[in-house]
């Protein structure tokens, strides 16, 4: 989403995602959540509270990053911010590396692992439901925000034509900062969910996640929210099916081959609109 507005491939996004997981780690300990505890409504409340704190922290960090590394380069050639993005990504990874070391960090398993049986022998874990519901809720919230608030409108205007937006009295700096904040909030939530679901995080986790996230965004059509969600879904499905049924060593090959084929036949992504060349 950040991409749609400032046209910057943000390599650091994946690391912001990891940062979300790393921020939530000490918080979970601080709130006294222990592994294997039965789930009362209290646990959910605490998790929600932690999620809010993590999101706020993450958003703050990303706003600072934007301020320091991207804003001075807003009028520079396009590739300069790309390189600072790589630099920021290294800095974040380095910080997390110094903080937690190079190995996998265990993430407390606080979500209940009960499974709800479905028809036909399939079953659905509580964890899965939490992930799906959170994802849906966040996408809906984000859609609402972008489409019906004033700030959301400002964002869309900035994405379309920055100068024209500025002429209409939109504070570009504030809007872009807000975009980064929201992007980081979502990434933070994602990171925390990742930790809760897979129970193990690593400092360089975000690099590939960031690549896949970017791929998903392009897949669905840049700057298109539903498209990004759809792209994420398709990539996730391809990943799972390939791991299970096809040659798992070639999972990424399938993903990128499909991506290239889609782009060859639909050059603006699955749901992308035709953008006239300037």
């Amino acid at each position: 989403m950040v991409y749609g507005i400032i046209e910057l491939i943000n390599f650091a996004h994946g690391d912001v995602f990891t940062l979300g997981a790393f921020f939530s780690l000490p918080l979970i300990g601080a709130f006294g959540l222990v592994e294997g505890q039965s789930s009362g409504p209290g646990v959910w409340l605490i998790l929600l509270l932690i999620a809010v704190i993590v999101m706020a922290l993450n958003g703050g960090v990303n706003v600072v990053i934007e301020r320091v590394a991207y804003r001075p380069l807003r009028n520079a050639p396009r590739l300069a911010p790309l390189i600072t993005a790589v630099g920021v990504s290294f800095i974040l990874e380095g910080t997390m590396y110094v903080w937690r070391g190079a190995s996998n960090v265990h993430y407390p398993d606080v979500l209940p692992s009960t499974r709800i049986p479905l028809v036909g022998g399939a079953s659905l874990g509580v964890k899965d439901i939490v992930v799906i519901l959170t994802a849906i809720a966040l996408v809906v919230l984000l859609s609402l925000f972008i489409n019906s608030t004033k700030l959301g409108k400002a964002m869309r205007a900035t994405a379309q034509d920055r100068e024209a937006a500025q002429l209409m009295g939109i504070d570009i700096n504030r809007t872009i900062s807000a975009t980064f904040f929201i992007g980081a909030v979502l990434a933070g939530a994602g990171g925390m969910i990742f930790g809760l679901y897979f129970n193990s995080v690593r400092f360089d986790l975000g690099f590939e996640a960031g690549l896949l996230a970017f791929t998903a965004a392009v897949f669905g059509g840049i700057g298109n929210l539903q498209g990004a969600a759809l792209g994420g879904l398709v990539i996730g499905l391809v990943q799972v099916f390939s791991n299970a049924y096809f040659i798992s060593a070639l999972t990424d090959v399938w993903i990128f081959t499909i991506l290239i084929l889609v782009l060859v036949f639909r050059p603006t992504g699955l749901l992308g609109m035709q953008v006239p060349e300037k």
Binding site: S89, G94, T215, I247, I260
Partner: protein, 420 residues
């Protein structure tokens, strides 16, 4: 420069010539680079007390990245196409050489070893990489810039994975040795008409260039690297000044306007892609011969990004700038940052803080702490340099002028000029 008239003193003319020469920053850079490259082996040998081979070896490795940065510069700097999967072409070049100049293909369904000489394979590698450039470019080059970036990124991920997969146990046989990589690749050999057997004693200088275990071994590769880099620099400079180079710039600045002016944009972009890829193929062959080992691990996304950093940091589109950028990044990444932990340890010992070197509790000892900081330091360097010099360290003159007059969205000659 004005033609010399009879009245001008010869020394005067020479002075002016020298003045003009060094007025141009690029020429100064080139001169310094050439002198540096020629003097480097001697300096390395003297400063380390005759143990300079290690340094020369490092320099010969750095040459690979200079070649790669020169090639990517054609794609990104000249033609303005963002390529995030450049290492794929590098891999293709290296594996082409590896497969046809080692015992590797004995294990493949061909059941035959190939030992084609390095000099032939240089051209084959260039050709194969260029072909892959066309194969990737032909369907995808009509995509807008950022979609192109993601497609190249995808290609860059696909190639190492496929190469890794085509090892032992793949359905179509063992072509690449998979994760182990191809080892024991032939070193280059000078042809017989240069090395003898001649009548009488062979000329020492030529005889020593056998690229194998002789004393001057890294020096051989260093010399070869210089020749290859020189060839590429000449090629790239001529391309830049050619009709094609101007077409690339036109496409970079405004594709629609370029097309309207009669530039065949698709062909021009495709050529940029293929030529960029062929440079990588060239570099790949040299790399395979130098290391005598190629492994898919050396061609991942991070390599593509490193090359891109070299190009952008050095100054996109400017050949000496790119070379300097490549050397600086290489030195920072593979020399300064790898040795920094040892240096800090030595420093701490020297100033009497050796207590810092012991590990206790969370502190793992100064050496390891600094090692952990490597990523962070490299990131900081990147951010600081880019914020201070967004156009790169040594940008090309034309781009510099563009930047003074506007961002990449506006043309060089913009309505804004009226305001000033």
């Amino acid at each position: 420069m004005r033609p010399l008239s009879g009245r001008t003193l010869k020394t005067d003319a020479a002075m002016r010539w020298a003045g003009n020469w060094f007025n141009d920053r690029n020429r100064t850079l080139f001169t310094l680079l050439i002198i540096g490259a020629l003097v480097f082996p001697a300096v390395a040998d003297v400063t380390t007390g005759g143990e300079g081979n290690h340094l020369i070896n490092t320099a010969a490795d750095a040459g690979v990245f200079v070649l790669l940065a020169l090639g990517l510069n054609v794609v990104v700097g000249f033609a303005g196409l963002l390529d995030l999967g450049y290492a794929a072409f590098f891999a293709i070049g290296a594996y082409t050489y590896g497969m046809f100049a080692s015992g590797q293909l004995l294990a493949s369904p061909l059941h035959h070893e190939f030992h084609i000489p390095f000099w032939v394979m240089l051209f084959v590698g260039v050709g194969v990489a260029a072909c892959f450039g066309v194969i990737l470019g032909a369907p995808t080059l009509r995509l807008r810039g950022d979609y192109l970036a993601i497609v190249t990124l995808g290609f860059g991920e696909i190639v190492p994975l496929v190469v890794q997969y085509l090892g032992a146990g793949s359905p179509i046989g063992n072509w690449t040795s998979g994760v182990n990589g191809i080892g024991a690749i032939d070193p280059p050999k000078l042809p017989y008409f240069l090395t003898g057997p001649w009548v009488g004693a062979p000329i020492g200088l030529v005889k020593n260039f056998d690229f194998t275990g002789s004393v001057a071994y890294p020096m051989d590769f260093y010399a070869l690297m210089l020749v290859l880099v020189a060839i590429c620099v000449v090629l790239a400079t001529n391309l830049y000044n050619s009709r094609l180079g101007r077409a690339w710039m036109a496409v970079r600045e405004d594709e629609v306007a370029a097309a309207a002016s009669g530039v065949n944009t698709v062909a021009v972009k495709l050529l940029a892609f293929a030529i960029g890829a062929s440079f990588a193929g060239f570099a790949g062959c040299y790399y395979g011969a130098k290391l005598s080992l190629v492994s898919a691990d050396n061609f991942h996304f991070i390599v593509s990004v490193t090359i891109l950093i070299m190009v952008v940091l050095g100054g996109m589109g400017n050949i000496p700038g790119v070379i300097v950028g490549a050397l600086l990044i290489y030195v920072t990444q593979f020399f300064v940052l790898t040795n920094l932990p040892d240096w800090t340890q030595a420093l701490a010992n020297a100033v009497g803080l050796s207590g810092l070197n012991q590990s206790h509790g969370d502190w793992v000892g100064l050496r390891n702490e600094v090692q952990r900081l490597n990523y962070l330091i490299f990131g900081l360097i990147l951010v600081i340099v880019m914020v201070l010099r967004p156009q790169g360290l040594f940008p090309s003159r034309i781009r510099e002028q563009e930047l003074e007059k506007g961002t990449e969205e506006q043309a060089v000659f913009d309505l804004r000029e009226d305001e000033t």
